[in-house]
């Protein structure tokens, strides 16, 4: 057990040594991360994907959300055909004449925004509740975990249906729905590992030192609950994006005139039997690439950040 105790505070230990060595915790983290070539590729890809999403309107050949410039007279063009306005649709057009390349770039913005945005909010809420439940135990634990039970017993689509029906369609509404669906997973995961951590000596030691509860929870317990949390968080971002697509598939998601990657796939779903593969295959590949690269990064982060895995 002493090994664990030592490693748990390795961050601070690193600080005390930094006067002697050039190695800072951050540099060490970067160096560790760089060891895995695939993960480096993942990080670069995520960076590129985020850049594309941020500067989408500047890159995209057309504006797929502008009803005045999109015309259904251009619909179902095969990849490489020319649209009415002279622009070549490199990846074809969809059922309503949107250039697939432009639609995918714009859709990527929405998918990433929805997935990451809802993930961060849900993470903050879930982690706070989960840690409190595990640390305080007793009534606090019971109340929080009962709420989690209620939360998890709502099928996601019903939460979405009820919320979207009373609020209307839109990106903000779908983010609310996704947060409500996800936060409980974080809470439960964090509680699960925190329950074990709480019994460990270093927490006792921290408590005996008279550190404030907030400090004990967030500075000592939280870092040690991170590994499973990162696993869940990477999966949840992916899950949020695909859940959004599923909601679109069921007709409850985003407005039709502003499709996300998920909605593009959902729209293409009906063409899949008819040979118009590009409408769902390309956005599907774009979605796959985005999620896989996010997960590659998440995977590596988990390995690097886990103190117990270090030699």
């Amino acid at each position: 057990m002493s090994a664990v105790q030592e490693n748990a505070d390795h961050g601070r230990a690193g600080h005390s040594q930094s006067a002697v060595e050039v190695e800072t915790p951050f540099r060490r983290f970067v160096a560790d991360y760089m060891e895995n070539k695939i993960a480096v590729f993942g990080a670069i890809s995520v960076f590129v994907v985020v850049l594309i999403a941020l500067f989408g309107p500047l890159i995209a050949p057309t504006d797929p959300y502008d009803l005045a410039s999109v015309t259904f007279m251009d619909n179902k063009l095969e990849p490489g055909e020319q649209m009415g306005n002279g622009v070549t649709a490199v990846l074809g057009t969809d059922g309503l004449g949107r250039d697939m390349v432009s639609a995918m770039i714009y859709g990527l913005r929405i998918s990433l925004g929805v997935g990451i945005g809802s993930g961060i909010i849900a993470l903050l809420i879930g982690v706070t509740f989960g840690l409190c439940a595990a640390y305080f135990g007793g009534k606090v634990d019971t109340v929080i975990m009962r709420i989690v039970d209620i939360q998890l017993s709502f099928p996601a689509i019903l939460v979405a249906l009820v919320l979207l029906a009373t609020l209307g369609k839109g990106i903000d509404k779908i983010i609310i729905a996704l947060v409500v669906v996800q936060w409980a997973y974080y809470a439960r995961t964090v509680r699960g590992s925190a329950l074990v951590e709480r019994r460990r000596e270093y927490i006792e030691a921290a408590t005996c030192l008279g550190l404030s509860k907030r400090r004990v929870i967030f500075r000592h317990m939280l870092p040690n609950c991170l590994p499973p949390l990162i696993v869940v968080a990477t999966m949840q971002v992916a899950h949020a994006i695909s859940l959004e697509a599923t909601l679109s598939f069921l007709g409850l998601g985003l407005p039709v005139t502003e499709p996300s990657l998920g909605l593009l796939i959902a729209n293409g779903f009906e063409y899949i039997m008819s040979g118009l593969y590009w409408i769902s295959v390309y956005p599907g590949l774009a979605l796959l690439f985005t999620i896989v690269t996010i997960n590659l990064v998440g995977d590596r982060l988990r390995d690097v950040l886990n103190p117990r895995l270090q030699k």
């Binding site: 009803l67 005045a68 619909n75 179902k76 004449g97 029906a165 007709g251 407005p255 005139t257 039997m273």
Partner: protein, 535 residues
């Protein structure tokens, strides 16, 4: 079978051959499952189609919605307010008992007093008195002359008065919907007997050997499988899991046409897809000036409505969005139906004309709109709406498009704003259940009036007293030619002059079968075993 499937084409050819030789069993993949086997429970297409194969009606529609005698052999008017129906001789129910006028009266009583279901059959039973003359002769008496008697009789199905004991005083005569769903009371006189219903899976019917009547019985055993997902239904047909499917998605029509394993049968339906426009509010919630400020509702002006109609390129929508599987519409029912107007043409795409009309009406710079519609109710509904959004925007009316699921949409479109229709412009459809023009005129264009039961689905609240009067006159006119003329004239007013609604196109339905079979496409959109015939 499974092993054979690997052989692809050869296997299908073989199974098609066996089908021709035996012509006994058929498996049909259908989109919509009925909600009950109780004939008066729920007056909707999936129910009426499925249950109508087990329970016959007095008279019925053929595939072109022409009336033929089913239980009744003949019918005529005795005087202005009395109709006489003669029943066929020797009719039997599936349990072997005789079908007489008593059963007909019993059925009407149960339909009329039905409690707890979602029945709307009272629309057809109210104001009618049934009188037994003898076992095979029935008189139906109304207060005023009632020309649509035979059309109304195509709705109420006839059940056995001895179906499950008889407790005439009890609720629904002591028979609950469940008794029909498990087969206890599912005893009709139709061409097929009820075997079983596994909810969410299938309904199985079996040929009734004692059937007397004009409906064909090409199959010994019929299995209706419920496959809601569109691509899955097509896949099931291509994989050979089912012999036939209904509601072929328009996008797949072109490809299936070329597939040597498949035969397509398509036909025009009685359903028109159209736009309702807010005509009852000075301040319409989803119409604004281009800068977003409030303006007086421009849709009140018939010239604006006409202009919007001219902005819609119907030919292009049908060709590009509907894959050619629809017919541009200029009125409420396609050519050939009773009471359609010979004067109305399909509105041509005319942006210049639209601009001129808008300027005349005082909106030379246009205005901004948000249009609404369902995304899971009609064929390609959301896509049509988006195409219209593109056309409006391109012609100087910046338009936002909002679609939602039908359960949310219809509630809001009918009574979302404190009991009033919520939206300014909606896309909806209307199928004429009676197969003639009075049905849409009465529900969609007549002034909304609860006490008279008029304009029930008039979500734009269009109102023209002159047209109302003409429609009422038509509804009391027994002479067919005269009535057809009045209905056509009412349509001329409602659509041609007032542009009360904007018709877009008539739906065309497509059924697909494996080679060797075909379907008699029905205008009422029903999928019936008897209409599947060898090619």
């Amino acid at each position: 079978m499974k092993a054979l499937r690997k052989l692809g084409l050869a296997a299908v050819a073989l199974s098609a051959m066996t089908a021709n030789v035996m012509a006994a069993d058929i498996v049909i993949g259908i989109r919509s499952e009925p909600s009950s086997m109780d004939p008066y429970f729920h007056n909707l297409t999936p129910n009426n189609a499925m249950i109508g194969q087990v329970f016959s009606r007095l008279v019925d529609f053929d595939s072109k919605q022409q009336i033929f005698g089913s239980i009744a052999e003949s019918w005529k008017t005795v005087n202005d307010t009395t109709w006489e129906f003669k029943l066929r001789k020797g009719l039997k129910f599936h349990d072997g008992s005789d079908l007489t006028v008593d059963d007909v009266i019993y059925s009407f009583e149960r339909a009329d007093g039905y409690e707890g279901g979602n029945s709307s059959f009272r629309t057809y039973t109210k104001g009618k008195k049934l009188v037994k003359v003898d076992d095979l002769t029935l008189h139906i008496v109304t207060e005023r002359p009632y020309p649509l008697m035979a059309n109304d009789m195509t709705t109420v199905m006839i059940m056995s008065s001895e179906a499950k004991g008889t407790d005439s005083s009890g609720k629904n005569k002591g028979i609950s919907a469940k008794d029909f769903n498990d087969g206890t009371a599912t005893i009709g006189s139709g061409p097929y007997k009820f075997v079983e219903w596994k909810k969410g899976e299938h309904i199985i019917l079996e040929k009734f050997d004692g059937y007397i009547g004009e409906i064909a019985q090409p199959w010994d055993k019929v299995t209706f499988k419920f496959i809601k997902s569109e691509p899955a239904r097509v896949a099931a047909l291509l994989a050979g899991d089912v012999d036939a499917i209904d509601n072929v998605p328009t996008i797949d029509v072109e490809r299936l046409k070329k597939d040597p394993r498949v035969t397509l049968s398509s036909g025009i339906s009685n359903r028109v897809i159209y736009l309702h426009l807010d005509q009852f509010r000075e301040d319409s919630p989803f119409v604004t000036a281009k800068d977003g400020s409030k303006i007086k509702n421009p849709l009140l002006d018939p010239r604006v409505r006409k202009a919007l109609s001219k902005m819609i390129n119907r030919e292009a929508i049908v060709k590009r969005v509907m894959e050619g599987v629809a017919i541009p519409a200029g009125q409420l029912l396609p050519e050939g139906f009773f009471g359609v107007s010979p004067n109305l043409e399909v509105e041509a795409y005319d942006p210049a004309g639209a601009k001129k009309l808008l300027a005349e009406a005082g909106y030379p710079d246009g205005f901004a709109l948000t249009i609404h519609g369902p995304n899971d109710r009609y064929i390609n509904d959301a896509k049509i709406l988006e195409a219209i959004g593109q056309l409006f925007t391109g012609n100087g009316i910046p338009t936002k498009v909002e679609t939602m699921t039908k359960n949310i949409f219809f509630k809001r479109a009918s009574s979302g704003a404190e009991g009033l229709p919520e939206f300014s412009l909606v896309l909806v459809g209307w199928g004429s259940g009676t197969g003639e023009a009075s049905s849409p005129l009465k529900s969609l264009l007549a002034t909304h009036d609860k006490s008279k039961g008029m304009g029930a689905s008039n979500r734009g609240r269009h109102s023209n007293p002159e047209m109302d009067a003409m429609l009422l006159e038509a509804l009391a006119t027994v002479d067919d030619t005269k009535r057809a003329g009045l209905l056509a004239k009412a349509t001329d007013m409602g659509i041609g002059e007032d542009q009360g609604i904007i018709p877009l196109h008539y739906q065309v339905n497509t059924w697909a079968t494996k080679k060797g079979l075909k379907y008699n496409p029905r205008t009422d959109e029903r999928t019936l075993a008897s209409d599947y015939v060898p090619e």
